[in-house]
């Protein structure tokens, strides 16, 4: 109960600050918190990365296993994305089957990876109609300080960029080899705070926000996924503005994922 009151006071404080272009942690509206990735964090995975965006920490692990292609795509491998918003990572998450929030994260990440054609699924086919690689991208949230989607995709693409196909272990080829990765999508998330739209929201900003908008872009200059979430609204002009900003941030974060920038 008193928690609700505190939250309301904090919300109006955040909105007040935003109306004069400020944020609680001193950032500008278009500034990310510090970003870092640590590939190879988990050696039991075929690829992995721990991504930090400010207080938010997300671990992604890739596993490749031989399986059966879907009947309607006999020449393609299978891509599966799953996000676990485990209760360890936030007081808001509960034990049990995946909540809508976790499902949303996994589906938005999955759409970006598919639309950017990050993995050429036909290259995951071993024997058409018979055997193909199933590529599992698991996302494990460790610390939820806000903006899970961006951190989740950043961890996932970094893990994919460093992943190995365990072809030798499964007796499918003479040697393991690096997973081939195409376009790298990056998701950038924004929330509206009154008339201001800020990037990379904290948990408190997400709670105070009047709508959340995520835009995924790739290096081919394409928007590959979008998702409006939470209570609130954006005008078409807001959306166009946000897309512009997403391209710019995306470029920098892609360099971080590739280990060529920070």
């Amino acid at each position: 109960m008193s928690g609700e009151v505190t939250a309301e006071i904090l919300t109006s404080h955040i909105l007040d600050l935003a109306s004069s272009g400020k944020r609680l942690d001193g950032r500008t509206a278009d500034e990310y918190r510090p970003i870092s990735v640590e590939p190879g964090f988990v050696v039991t995975a075929d690829g992995s990365a721990l991504a930090h965006i400010g207080d938010t920490a997300v671990l992604s692990g890739i596993k490749l296993e031989p399986g059966k292609p879907f009947p309607d795509t006999p020449n393609a491998g299978v891509l599966t994305t799953n996000a676990e918003l485990v209760p360890l990572s936030s007081p808001m998450f509960e034990p049990g089957p995946p909540q809508p929030g976790a499902i949303e994260v996994s589906r938005v990440v999955d759409r970006a990876i598919r639309a950017a054609e990050t993995i050429d699924l036909t290259r995951l086919c071993v024997t058409p109609g018979e055997k193909s690689w199933v590529c599992y991208t698991d996302i494990h949230v460790l610390d939820h300080g806000g903006n899970l989607i961006d951190a989740a995709l950043l961890a996932a693409v970094t893990a994919l960029l460093h992943a190995t196909v365990p072809a030798k272990r499964f007796g499918i080829a003479e040697a393991d080899y690096a997973l081939e990765v195409g376009h790298v999508p990056i998701e950038c998330t924004f929330v509206r705070l009154g008339d201001t739209i800020v990037v990379d929201p904290t948990v408190d900003e997400e709670r105070a926000g009047q709508g959340r908008l995520t835009v995924a872009t790739d290096e081919a200059g394409r928007v590959v996924a979008m998702q409006k979430g939470l209570v609130g609204a954006f005008s078409p002009d807001d959306v166009k503005d946000v897309v512009r900003r997403a391209f710019r941030h995306g470029e920098r974060m892609r360099a971080i994922a590739r280990g060529t920038g920070r």
Partner: protein, 249 residues
Amino acid sequence: MGSVGAKDVPVLLTPDGRRIDGRKLDELRPIRIRAGVSHQADGSAFVEWGANKVMAAVYGPREVHPRHLQQNNKAVIQCKYNMAAFSVDERKRPGLDRRSQEISKVIGEAFDSVIFTEEFPRTSIDVYIEVLQANAGTRCAGLVAASVALADAGIPMVDLLPAVAVGKVAGAIALDLKKEEDNFGEADLPMALVPQSGRLVLLQMEGHMTEEELGQALDLGVRGCRDIYEVMKAALRERYAVGAPGGAA
């Protein structure tokens, strides 16, 4: 979107700009809305939109179940989008899948953005959407049906919520994709508009578009929503004229 290894891509756009069903790029499929079709619900609507058939019903404000979801300062909006097993070509196993759960979430959030929830603290407003026959665009059809059902239930809202998907088909931005266009097209961008404010409360995208195409798509979608808005208002006018519920479907 772009199914892998698909063999026979049909011709989605003729040289003179006609689509697979003869429509122009900015043309909606036929849409028919009936409000007040359920005898049990507090509000309801049935939408036939192209080859989609969708029913929506609203219950509430009523007691929150499960209780721990109750909020002291507002009504909670609980939305369930569900597809009948026989609504699609390959039978869908009954029960909530991940896609349905995501759609339920974004539609619920869209309505939460326009309903005056603070007028009904400690209650639940339950919005149920059943897709009975699907042919691309079911989330928009469901949202439109649910919006009319909410109005039929007398729930106070900022405005009705027209919705439509814009897509990219054979390189062109097109309004309101049907199934073949959706399966073989390059992008799909569903949206829901608050006509009064001109803002979007639902917006998703999958596929790929350039920044420019996206701008075009947004503008086309907003125009489409405004057309649908008129159909929605007409359905409600007809409902109020008739009075008694008309019978499901």
